[in-house]
């Protein structure tokens, strides 16, 4: 009872057009592409989405704060110092000079975000460059670059930031420079290990065999695969950066009064910790919440970028 051999069945057998070769469900779903997949999975992650929404909100407030603060954040009043949270005029109380806390927190988000995010972005560019170069070229270049980087790892990052800021002097620009210096080695280290891992994959060998130049392989085959993981790592550094930046301001090495910045506000409100502990803690709460949000978003991004085979 053997079935007749038709032309169609021959074709099937040769695998020329196997209808059953694809799972039926997969047949006509258009491919989303890599970032499409990541986005799709990120949207379904409630934690990451919540964190993302919070970050977006803070960014919006930071941008719009000069126009939307309920009161003048610089104008103080000796009579209305240290009002409590829930005050009829000052919803979140007032600081030690009688300035409106909510207005200062809103305006403070600008500088806090700026000196938290900028160093990470700059370090992302520089560190990735160093790390990818070291990882892809390998050999002596790798050894020299990575040993130099290792020197920076000898110091705890807090200490390094304080030492550099101290040497450069106080100021926003200088604290960004010193924080960048703190993050470059960390990002370079991660970039190097990710690139070294990718370089050993078979598809890089296959690309070499196709006759592509090292530069083409770097651009087309390596870059797309390493930038994602490095970026995820960098976003996880934003929280650290914000805390370090606040720390520098707290120590008087960053932003100078009367500019509002969360770390600096924490410092100046220190004296009021017994008089009005809730108000004194508010800038700290802001730093905590925003940096946690960055961390959770970065975790979500990492999870979404894991491709399962």
């Amino acid at each position: 009872m053997t079935a007749p051999i038709t032309a169609a069945s021959m074709a099937l057998d040769g695998g020329v057009l196997s209808a059953g070769d694809v799972a039926p469900e997969a047949a006509f779903v258009p491919s989303r592409g890599f970032w499409g997949h990541v986005g799709h999975r990120l949207v379904r992650d409630p934690v990451a989405m919540g964190a993302g929404a919070l970050i977006l909100l803070v960014v919006l407030i930071a941008i719009l704060s000069p126009w939307i603060t309920p009161m003048d954040p610089y104008k103080g009043s000796m009579l209305r110092r240290l009002k409590h949270v829930g005050d009829a005029t000052y919803w979140l109380g007032s600081d030690e000079l009688g300035r409106d806390m909510i207005s200062r927190l809103m305006l403070g988000s600008r500088l806090s975000l700026f000196i938290g995010v900028t160093p990470v972005l700059i370090a992302f560019v520089i560190g990735s460059g160093i790390g990818i170069l070291a990882g892809y070229v390998g050999g002596w270049t790798n050894t020299i670059l990575m040993r130099t980087i290792d020197v920076f790892f000898a110091f705890p990052s807090v200490l390094l930031a304080i030492a550099l800021s101290g040497a450069l002097g106080a100021g926003i620009f200088n604290s960004i420079v010193s924080l960048t210096c703190v993050f470059v080695p960390q990002i370079a280290r991660v970039a190097e290990s990710v690139t070294t891992g990718i370089r050993k994959r078979d598809y890089i060998d296959a690309a070499k065999l196709s006759g592509a130049s090292p530069l083409t392989i770097m651009r087309v085959q390596v870059l797309g695969n390493v930038v994602g993981p490095i970026f995820v790592y960098a976003t996880s550094l934003i929280s650290v950066s914000m805390i370090l930046a606040s720390g520098l301001s707290f120590l008087g090495l960053g932003v100078r009064p009367p500019e509002p910045e969360w770390g600096l506000m924490l410092n100046t409100l220190r004296t009021a910790i017994y008089a009005n502990p809730v108000v004194a803690a508010l800038p700290g709460v802001c730093i905590f919440v925003v940096s946690i949000a960055f961390n959770m978003f970065s975790d979500g991004l990492r999870a979404a970028m894991e491709i399962r085979q």
Binding site: D202, L209, G211
Partner: protein, 351 residues
Amino acid sequence: MSVIPDAPDPFDRDRGGPAQPLLSVSGLYKHFPVRKAGGKKQVVRAVDGVDFDVLKGETLGIVGESGCGKSTTAKLLMGLIERDSGSLLYDGQAVGERVMPWRSYRRQVQMVFQDSYASLNPRMTVEQSIAFGPKVNGVPGREAVERARALLARVGLEPKRFAGRYPHEISGGQRQRVNIARSLALEPRLVLLDEAVSALDKSVEAQVLNLLLDLKAEFGLTYIFISHDLNVVRFISDRVMVMYLGRVSEIGPSDTVLDAPAHPYTEALLASMPSLDPDNRTQAALLQGDPPNPIDPPSGCRFHPRCTLAEPICGEKEPPLDTVGPLHRVSCLARQPGSGHSAAPARALAA
């Protein structure tokens, strides 16, 4: 240059004529330095003096266990790692020299890797991966993509459905078809298949083996087929080379080598294949223990500590790869007249 040449003549683009081997390997060595615990420096003799020819239009199977050097040999043939010494002649021209730089050699010789997933860039669509080679070799983008689609169709993947997919969206068998298509994108004459079907399920393996047979006939290809599966090698190869600890122990027509092996190691390998007869199961293993480590291989014949025919002379004298029959060469003193081994055939008989 058309995507699918209409004349599938294996001697098209031929320089040296049909009798000249397509690839001739001689005196190939590769030692890797390793540092063991305690700081002692040692070398892994991964490939330790390998000679063989690949004839035009044939399929040469290479078999052996882990540590025998078959994968290192593949990488050396492709120039993915640098050889310590030895020469590669491609159609009579020295590879890596001015007449045949690696770049032009690699347009003629391509490779398919074992791990179908790791050998495709996860961020590139199937079509982009296949078109990459032609593009970097100067084929205009649009034409390269068209060629990629034609090749996809040829390996049994409908371009409309598969061209835009990413490697993780398709099955292992389909990915290996993509890898095969990519290896053909530069229209090579020799394709090196390094355990290319080993990771696939049996029924998928059969489909891919059929595809390889068809492609070979259609494009006039020559294959080097590396595998640990003797059944698959027997099926696809014209000649078989058996490797052990970085050396060739036997090479010859696959029917001869796999039906009447001359080397005791080949015999042991064959005896280790599970039988498919439940009434006649394997009773005892011919070899005990694991294949030894290519660090510090035994003196003399590498196989002598595990060999049933071993005699004192085997530990002293390295057996040369000698002819024992038509196209059949073996490195075993017991098969070589005048070697001093008691089982060696008489000189007159062999002459």
